[in-house]
């Protein structure tokens, strides 16, 4: 790839043909504020927040402007700050952005930028239109369009990643709104609840049903694991609150899933904290299960297996291992059967 030399904020940098200013800046840890841009979807250039000055004169959107040789880019100056502040004010005044009531308070990209540019309460120049609030029709997703900034990330998340094409824009100019399929409620639409639109939404316009009332964003703890369902092996960042309760699942970009999830990975985690979980060893006595201590249960199993092994031989004992357990556990199970019991009678549901 052809290398291109350019300057950003006075720093001599190298990019390559086809990259945008925003991409080269990102690679070099230079932050250019943006809202509609997201690395996983095609470029939009709609929000104008990423305007930068090129060669001392023109203002260009950094997310769409390709780098060219000897380009001189300035990412922030008095005029740019003023424009960004103005844009943010307009975005705020178009919707109803009250962070106090918003479950994405603390994680909202719009909020972060408004704080950065010290944006004050909207002047009320634009008429605040009441837009769709649909927090119930979908089992997994919530929609409050009063928080929407029409950046289009959700439209592209659904159209370019999930390939479902549920979201789109309808109307023109200041009456533009989101629509799920043909004006249907989200729950009646063809949405498959993969949740990628929520994951990419920069504000609280789209949210998960699992989030509200489960703690503030800044109290949540994140840990990465691997989805328990099919064999794709999606990496998921699971968030828990102060009480240790699972709050949400966000696709991790480093996994084979590249950040994407399906409905099971997104919402199929609360069984872990279900009150139906087994929490104590059980021994069946007279046809009924009774709680037992670990010592009692382990002793019983070891004596029964030893007895059956000596009476009927090791091949009279069978183990079903588990495709839901880790490599370490499967390894131990086959080792247990082979080296402790003395049989190759071990299998798992690979064929089922």
């Amino acid at each position: 790839m052809e290398s291109i030399q350019l300057t950003i904020n006075g720093k001599q940098l190298a990019g390559h043909r086809g990259q945008t200013i925003l991409e080269v800046a990102g690679e070099n840890n230079i932050d250019i504020p943006h809202l509609c841009y997201h690395p996983r979807i095609s470029k939009t250039g709609a929000c104008r927040i990423c305007l930068v000055r090129v060669n001392g004169t023109m203002l260009k959107t950094a997310c769409t402007e390709p780098v060219i040789a000897d380009m001189d880019v300035v990412t922030e100056d008095a005029e740019i700050s003023q424009i960004r502040t103005g844009l943010l004010e307009m975005l705020l005044s178009e919707g109803c952005h009250n962070c106090l009531y918003c479950e994405w308070n603390g994680e909202c990209e719009l909020q972060r930028l408004c704080q950065k540019y010290d944006v004050q309460e909207p002047s009320g120049v634009f008429k605040n239109r009441e837009r769709t609030v649909d927090t119930e029709s979908s089992n997994g997703l919530r929609r409050n369009e009063n928080r929407c900034i029409l950046c289009g990330r959700c439209v592209k998340a659904c159209g370019e990643i999930q390939m479902q094409g549920v979201w789109n824009f309808t109307g023109r100019g200041s009456s533009t709104t989101l629509t799920s399929d043909m004006f249907a409620k989200l729950g009646d639409s063809s949405c498959v609840m993969c949740g990628t639109c929520v994951q990419l939404c920069p504000t609280g316009a789209l949210s998960f049903q699992t989030v509200l009332g489960r703690g503030q964003a800044w109290d949540l703890k994140k840990e990465t694991s691997v989805c328990i369902y099919c064999g794709v092996g999606c990496q998921i960042d699971f968030y828990t609150n102060k009480e240790g309760q699972l709050v949400k699942a966000i696709g991790n970009e480093n996994g084979p899933n590249e950040g994407h999830l399906c409905v099971k990975g997104r919402f199929g985690f609360d069984f872990v904290q279900s009150d139906k979980r087994l929490t104590k060893p059980l021994i069946k006595k007279n046809g009924k299960f009774e709680e037992a201590s670990w010592d009692e249960a382990l002793d019983l199993v070891s004596s029964k297996l030893t007895e059956i092994k000596s009476k009927s031989g090791p091949d009279s004992i069978m183990a079903f291992s588990s495709a839901k357990c880790t490599n370490e556990e499967n390894y131990l199970m086959q080792k247990f059967m082979r080296a402790v019991i003395g049989t190759n009678n071990v299998d798992h549901c690979a064929r089922l």
Binding site: V232, P256, V263, S302, I317, S321, R351
Partner: protein
């Protein structure tokens, strides 16, 4: 998978056969959809049901369940006849071509269309040309290839096709089975199979026996006799040969074919241990139940469908007095006189590396920052993105001459409809996890049978009506979903729902080589319930 998920954008065409990818492997399904819709890649779909991907296919071949071998042979026949195969690749890298060629002679599109129940034989030729012309072409399959009495042969036919086209050992090509469980690949790699030690080293080998006796420092005379598979063990229980069963995180009462037979086996066993996270349908038959950790409480590694080994971290505190599965096994071994001293999953992994050559170069430290796919023979090795590069792991790629054989059970006047089973998007396997997840259960909370409008009209059944579906093995009551998804004379039932369990109906006919049950086809009857 011979190849990698991140190679999907490199493929110029896809053959998806026996995989409802957008429901069962949705993330991969979306990636394939993206290539087909946005980048105009070619797609051929072969399935008895008009699955979502069929909508985007250049050719959709809606075959009768159980006729994969015929259709794959038919595609290969056209490729040979029209000289669309990669002659250089075949002569240089494969063997068995002449015999395959002879066998393929009779699989003309007309002959194949008759077997597969296709109206238009020319579609087979059209599909073959699409698949041959686009390079590389990737073949994706799932249980719709394997869960037959002829499952192994179905897989061999997939390999034949890709060898003929020279699509194995190159990026963006390959034979790519989509594995259905988070660690089914790893469980196989670890030797949780009746005939092999870790890394598929046969147990029926004195050398391997000596190797593992040494590695495990065991005085026990390790058995060289291959053990039983799941369905064989259940048969053994009924026959009285198998006395005790230890079930770790599985639910055979729901997941195994012919439920009535499974329950008979469970009741016959002298002693049953179940180690699980919930009181499953199987745990009901246990004498002792051990509460294990759920996935978010665990640390350890799992291996995905593309052989990528990944770390799981503990996210939540364990429930109640449950214990790690490896700890329970360790404590049991200790009580049975074997002094295992594992203190963590990582310590077990260090031992795995020593006895599993394909995992030898993988460490927890590397997994924290690197993407590693096995084989990874040493710590300096980057792992393997795709297999059989330059040469096949066995040397020459073996082409197998395979004849089509019909399923175990054919339709007849008493059981006139073909029943096939599988999964749906919102639920998983026996439902232990997904049906205890609030949002998933709220979205789909009851079972259904998909029937074609053809049968609906024959039996006067309306959409949403309760019907009875029966086979020679059992009968369930279930809601009818009238849809043109299944081929006429084919019904589909998901197997996630205990209250209308599909596996009461399925047949326990097995593939003679790998013992996989024929879940994908049996004969049933559908009756209106007069209330």
């Amino acid at each position: 998978m011979t190849n990698s998920i991140r190679e999907i954008p490199l493929s110029e065409a896809f053959l998806v056969i026996g995989s409802n990818t957008t429901e069962n492997h949705p993330v991969i399904g979306s990636m394939i959809k993206r290539e087909v819709i946005r980048n105009k890649k070619k797609l051929v779909v072969v399935d008895p049901r008009r699955i979502e991907l069929a909508k985007y296919a250049d050719v959709f071949l809606q075959i009768k369940p159980g006729t994969n071998i015929a259709i794959l042979n038919g595609l290969a026949h056209v490729i040979l006849k029209e000289k669309l195969y990669n002659a250089e690749y075949v002569s240089g890298r494969c063997e068995g071509f002449e015999e395959l060629k002879k066998t393929l002679e009779k699989y003309t599109p007309e002959h194949v269309a008759a077997i597969c129940g296709l109206d238009d034989p020319s579609l087979i030729a059209k599909a073959a040309r699409i698949l041959a012309e686009a390079k590389p072409m990737a073949l994706y399959y799932c249980m719709g290839i394997t869960q037959f009495k002829s499952g192994v042969n179905g897989v061999k036919c997939c390999a034949n096709l890709q060898m003929l086209l020279g699509n194995i050992g190159i990026a963006g090509g390959g034979v790519n089975p989509l594995r259905g469980q988070s660690n089914v690949q790893g469980a196989c790699d670890m030797g949780a199979l009746n005939a092999v030690y870790p890394a598929y080293q046969p147990v029926a080998s004195e050398d391997n026996k000596a190797k593992f006796r040494e590695a495990w420092k065991t005085a026990l005379d390790l058995s060289v006799k291959p053990g039983l598979t799941i369905v064989e063990a259940l048969n053994g229980a009924i026959a009285g040969d198998v006395k005790a069963l230890y079930v770790l995180g599985e639910n055979p009462v729901m997941s195994d074919p012919n439920q009535h037979h499974v329950i008979e086996a469970m009741e016959k066993l002298d002693f049953v241990v179940v180690q699980d996270i919930m009181m499953t349908e199987t745990a009901q038959y246990a004498d002792v139940v051990f509460p294990g950790y759920a996935f978010l409480e665990k640390e350890g590694t799992v291996s995905n469908t593309e052989r990528r080994v990944q770390l799981m971290h503990r996210v939540v505190e364990p429930a109640g007095d449950s214990r790690e599965d490896w700890l329970i096994l360790t404590q049991l071994a200790n009580r049975m006189g074997v002094p295992w001293e594992y203190g963590s999953a990582r310590e077990i992994f260090d031992e795995i590396r020593k006895v599993t050559p394909s995992y030898a170069g993988i460490t927890y430290e590397r997994l924290e920052k690197e993407l590693i796919q096995w084989p990874c023979p040493n710590e300096g090795h980057p792992g393997t993105q795709y297999l059989h590069r330059e040469k096949f792991s066995r040397g020459l790629g073996l082409m197998s001459a395979i004849e089509y054989t019909p399923p175990a059970e054919d339709v007849d006047p008493e059981y006139p409809v073909i029943l096939t089973t599988g999964r749906i998007l919102e639920h998983f396997h026996t439902g232990t996890m997904s049906r205890n997840s609030r949002i998933l259960e709220k979205t789909v909370n009851e079972n259904f049978v998909e029937i074609n409008p053809n049968e609906a009209s024959n039996y006067n059944i309306k959409d949403g009506e309760l019907v009875s579906v029966s086979t020679r093995r059992g009968s369930i009551r279930i809601k009818a979903r009238v849809t043109d998804r299944p081929k006429p004379n084919v019904a589909f039932i998901p197997f996630h729902f205990a209250e209308a369990a599909a596996n009461k109906l399925t047949i326990d006919a097995l593939d003679p080589t790998c013992k996989i049950p024929e879940y994908k086809v049996c004969a049933c009857k559908i009756e209106k319930i007069n209330m």
